[in-house]
């Protein structure tokens, strides 16, 4: 099980959940310019640890993520590219908020980059 520290700023947070059998990470707040380096560093560490422990999958909960700029999208895409091309690929389950349709639109291109790696699922009913 990877050991990662949570990261919190006033507007953005990444919280690893270590009490589950499958590694899990929860993102919340606003993924804007100030979050890019934080997200990039965290995902690089996560990737190294998941490869090192031969985890078959990781869950990423985005339900409380309210915004993501293109630099954060690119950071996610870069991580997924590494998962696909470095070592034994593990599955990345991205849980989106059905009431925030932008999440699905923003993550679909990342899934298209690596359809065998990324699994998208939605939490809750979609917006009316």
């Amino acid at each position: 099980m990877p050991t990662l520290r949570e990261v919190r700023t006033t507007t953005f947070a990444i919280v690893p959940c270590t009490d589950m059998t499958t590694p899990s990470v929860r993102l919340s707040g606003n993924g804007d310019t100030a979050a890019v380096d934080i997200l990039d560093g965290f995902l690089k560490d996560l990737h190294v640890q998941l490869l090192g422990t031969n985890c078959p999958q990781v869950h990423v909960d985005l339900v409380e993520l309210y915004f993501m700029n293109s630099a954060c999208v690119r950071t996610f895409a870069s991580w997924i590219h590494k998962v696909r091309t470095e070592g034994t690929p593990y599955r990345v389950h991205l849980k989106t908020n059905a009431r925030q349709a932008w999440q699905r639109r923003s993550l679909e291109p990342i899934k298209r980059l690596a359809p065998n790696v990324v699994v998208l699922s939605a939490d809750g009913p979609s917006a009316p």
């Binding site: 804007d32 310019t33 100030a34 349709a101 932008w102 679909e108 291109p109 917006a127």
Partner: protein, 162 residues
């Protein structure tokens, strides 16, 4: 109705500017999804002008107005930039304006951005692919004006592709 914001090209101002644009749109409609689209577009545009401006002032204007084709949302940005950046962004904007398949173009630019350092144009491609807004632009001297616009009923009716 419209608002026009003039601000220093500082990255820390971008979230506030884009939220103000989203709040402005809430006055027009309660559709959270199209407000989210406009928020993303405003954020990407504001980030670009903050990043590439060569002067201490940039501007962003958002307006909703009745045009011949229907009620229309428009965001206009203005900034001065280097000749090198202007040539690069003009090339990217032409490509975005001409494409009939913005999703595929975005996928290509996203894949290309993984191997490249620096500006990738990804924010502009994202606006075209995800927000459904259409681009126009002009360059006069070293001043770049970008306009993105869409009919409100098209914004409201646009659903995720999957």
């Amino acid at each position: 109705m419209f608002i026009r914001l003039t601000f220093s090209p500082r990255p820390e101002l971008v979230p506030g500017v884009s939220r103000l644009v989203a709040d402005f749109c809430r006055l027009e409609a309660g559709d959270q999804d199209w407000i989210a689209r406009v928020h993303i577009a405003a954020h990407e545009l504001a980030e670009n002008i903050a990043k590439y401006s060569t002067t201490s002032e940039v501007s962003l204007e958002v307006a909703v107005a009745d045009e011949a084709s229907g009620r229309t949302l428009m965001i206009r940005t203005r900034n001065r930039a280097s000749a090198e950046h202007l040539a690069d962004v003009a090339r990217r904007l032409r490509e975005l304006m001409l494409t009939r398949d913005p999703d595929t173009l975005y996928d290509e630019w996203l894949a290309r951005s993984l191997a490249a350092e620096g500006g990738s144009g990804l924010g502009l491609a994202r606006i075209r692919a995800e927000s459904g807004l259409h681009f126009e632009y002009t360059i006069e001297g070293d001043e770049l004006t970008i306009v993105v616009k869409a009919l409100l009923h098209e914004l409201a009716g646009r659903q995720p592709t999957v």
